[in-house]
């Protein structure tokens, strides 16, 4: 009697849980579905037809957004900035993390804590002196200037993640390579980097999402349309054609799609990275 009662309670609990979870899941999905379906309508039908699935699908908006709306240019820029900054972060951060974990030199802790401090101390408004500096160096309105800033933004956390990983990694293989006469740089490249692939995956994903979604420095540093990434381009577009909803929603879909795809395929790494960070702290 007591056992069946207990089972019954479990079933009710589970039903309530699912109703609650599904309701919240719908509120997460609905705005995105609404964006997508609106990007497939025309300016005439969008205000009349409120069905979730429109009667006729208009893929023309994507073509117009890509060409007239300049989202093709913005998209390419976002790809350039994200790819080059992420690549540079992997090289620079893994070199530093390897040194912090394996090599000996005076001031090692000082430099490592310097990078850590950057993650800990919030400095709102640091973009003001940064913009002043970029103007002084004639790096404002240049691709390389923006890429350098993005590398800097990603460095601290990436060094931290990679150093933690190297610390836990057994050094037997590296020792063997050293005895075989491999140089330190050779060991980093041929032994340490391949072994650190899981940590590098986490670094790549978090920096990719972060740089792809970056808005404020793109706004303060890039004023020419041919240099703007998607986030900045979206705001320019929304300011100019705020009432052309189908095209705006097409632009939003173009901006969101790569992020959702990366998330879809790399979900495991993202959740793992977040959870490990949480339980370690």
């Amino acid at each position: 009697m007591a056992v069946s009662n207990y089972k019954w309670i479990r079933v009710v609990q589970s039903v309530f849980s699912h109703v609650f979870l599904i309701f919240v899941a719908l509120t997460c999905l609905f705005p995105l579905l609404w964006m997508l379906r609106s990007s497939l309508m025309t300016n005439e039908t969008i205000f009349i037809d409120k069905a979730l699935i429109p009667q006729t699908l208009h893929f023309n908006n994507f073509y117009l957004a890509w060409t007239q709306g300049k989202f093709g240019v913005y998209f390419l820029n976002s790809i350039i900035y994200t790819a080059s900054a992420v690549f540079a972060i992997i090289v620079i951060a893994s070199l530093a993390a390897y040194a912090f974990s394996r090599l000996q030199f005076p001031g090692k802790n000082f430099f490592f804590y310097l990078f850590l401090a950057a993650m800990m101390i919030p400095l709102p408004g640091s973009f003001v002196p940064l913009v002043v500096l970029m103007n002084k160096l004639h790096l404002a309105n240049t691709r390389i200037g923006y890429i350098l800033c993005m590398i800097n933004v990603g460095l601290s956390l990436s060094i931290y993640i990679l150093k933690t990983f190297f610390d836990k990694m057994p050094s037997a293989l590296e020792d063997a390579a050293r005895i075989d006469g491999c140089s330190k740089l050779g060991i980093w490249f041929h032994v340490a980097l391949p072994l650190a692939r899981p940590a590098i995956a986490v670094v790549v994903i978090f920096n990719t999402l972060n740089i792809w979604n970056e808005y404020i420095l793109a706004t303060l540093l890039l004023n020419h349309e041919h240099l703007m990434p998607l986030q900045r381009g979206l705001m320019v577009y929304q300011g100019a054609y705020s009432v052309d909803y189908p095209m705006l929603m097409a632009g939003l879909s173009i901006t969101a799609a790569p992020v959702v795809l990366v998330y879809l395929f790399m979900q495991k790494h993202i959740i793992k990275g977040l959870s490990e960070g949480a339980t370690a702290g």
Partner: protein
């Protein structure tokens, strides 16, 4: 044992040491130029009245800081950020914890829920802001509301609830805070769920055998075990929510009205709007100080709670 004698720490020669420094050189160079230098420059610039372009700067000492003390719009913007943070701390984190509790057992579709809840956090604030700006829009087209929320309200004949959500001073800030929570709860959910899963299942089993109810298990086992995770989520929620601003820019824009201003939009306005770079830097320092002191107090407090 010849191997052991190959590396002797005290015998590291100069060339070797130089080589070791080369590993961190690129990182240190970039970091010094783009982080450390601006970090000190912000303190230096805060002592000047400067328009950002002119070659002459007026040294005014702590003048900018005295001005901030009396800047009503500034302190209002700090209050707005605090309001958004309060809603994130309560509504967003409570929702995240309730969802995490629901998912912390062998429930079907757990992977699906986890995937969906973390979708808003991976999207950019610009994308999220512009989608919600449209849903909350108050414009009319052909006698029908453009925004989905007002459209639903007309269909439900709740005309008295219809409003200009993002311009009405009574609802603008709350709308932003709710969208901010919508974007953020998935992050709290993932971290709280990870924390819940580190709790030993045997504790629950033992309590259940002893006849403890679900509620008392939650109160006496789950919540006390989760305190360190709660504190971490709280600190990160505060730091993140206080500095929110891209969402404000994409949902309502800037400069027209004061009732949705937050500190970072004020800093941007000092910098771009009124071209007062020194004042912008001083605002950044004051706000950074508030955040550091706030998280330090919470940290101390958490240590005390943990010891008890």
């Amino acid at each position: 044992m010849r191997v052991a004698s190959v590396k002797n720490p005290s015998a590291v020669n100069i060339k070797d040491l130089f080589g070791n420094y080369l590993f961190i050189l690129p990182a240190v160079l970039i970091f010094s130029l783009f982080y450390v230098y601006p970090f000190f420059e912000i303190f230096y610039l805060s002592l000047y009245e400067w328009n950002g372009i002119s070659t002459t700067r007026h040294f005014i000492g702590l003048g900018n800081f005295f001005e901030i003390m009396q800047d009503k719009v500034w302190w209002m913007s700090v209050w707005h950020a605090a309001y958004i943070t309060l809603i994130a701390l309560t509504f967003q984190n409570a929702l995240a914890f309730a969802l995490a509790l629901s998912c912390d057992r062998d429930i079907r579709m757990r992977r699906f829920y986890r995937f969906v809840f973390y979708l808003p956090p991976v999207l950019s604030e610009v994308v999220v802001g512009l989608i919600w700006r449209w849903i909350l829009s108050a414009s009319m087209q052909g006698g029908e509301p453009v925004g989905l929320l007002n459209y639903f309200l007309t269909k439900a004949h709740l005309y008295h609830l219809m409003r200009d959500w993002l311009s009405d001073p009574r609802t603008a800030l709350t709308s932003i805070a709710i969208v901010h929570s919508w974007k953020g709860f998935g992050w709290g959910f993932i971290i709280l769920l990870a924390g819940l899963q580190t709790i030993d299942r045997q504790l629950y089993e033992a309590a259940r055998v002893d006849g403890a109810s679900s509620l008392s298990i939650l109160k006496n086992i789950t919540i006390p075990m989760m305190v360190p995770v709660f504190i971490m989520v709280m600190i990160l929620t505060i730091l993140g929510s206080m500095q929110v601003f891209v969402l404000v820019l994409s949902m309502v824009g800037q400069g027209l009205v004061y009732h949705t201003e937050v500190p970072v939009t004020r800093i941007l306005d000092s910098m771009i709007g009124t071209s007062r770079f020194g004042y912008a830097c001083a605002q950044g320092i004051v706000f950074g100080g508030i955040l550091v002191v706030g998280s330090f107090i919470l940290h101390k407090f958490s240590k005390k709670v943990r010891q008890e």
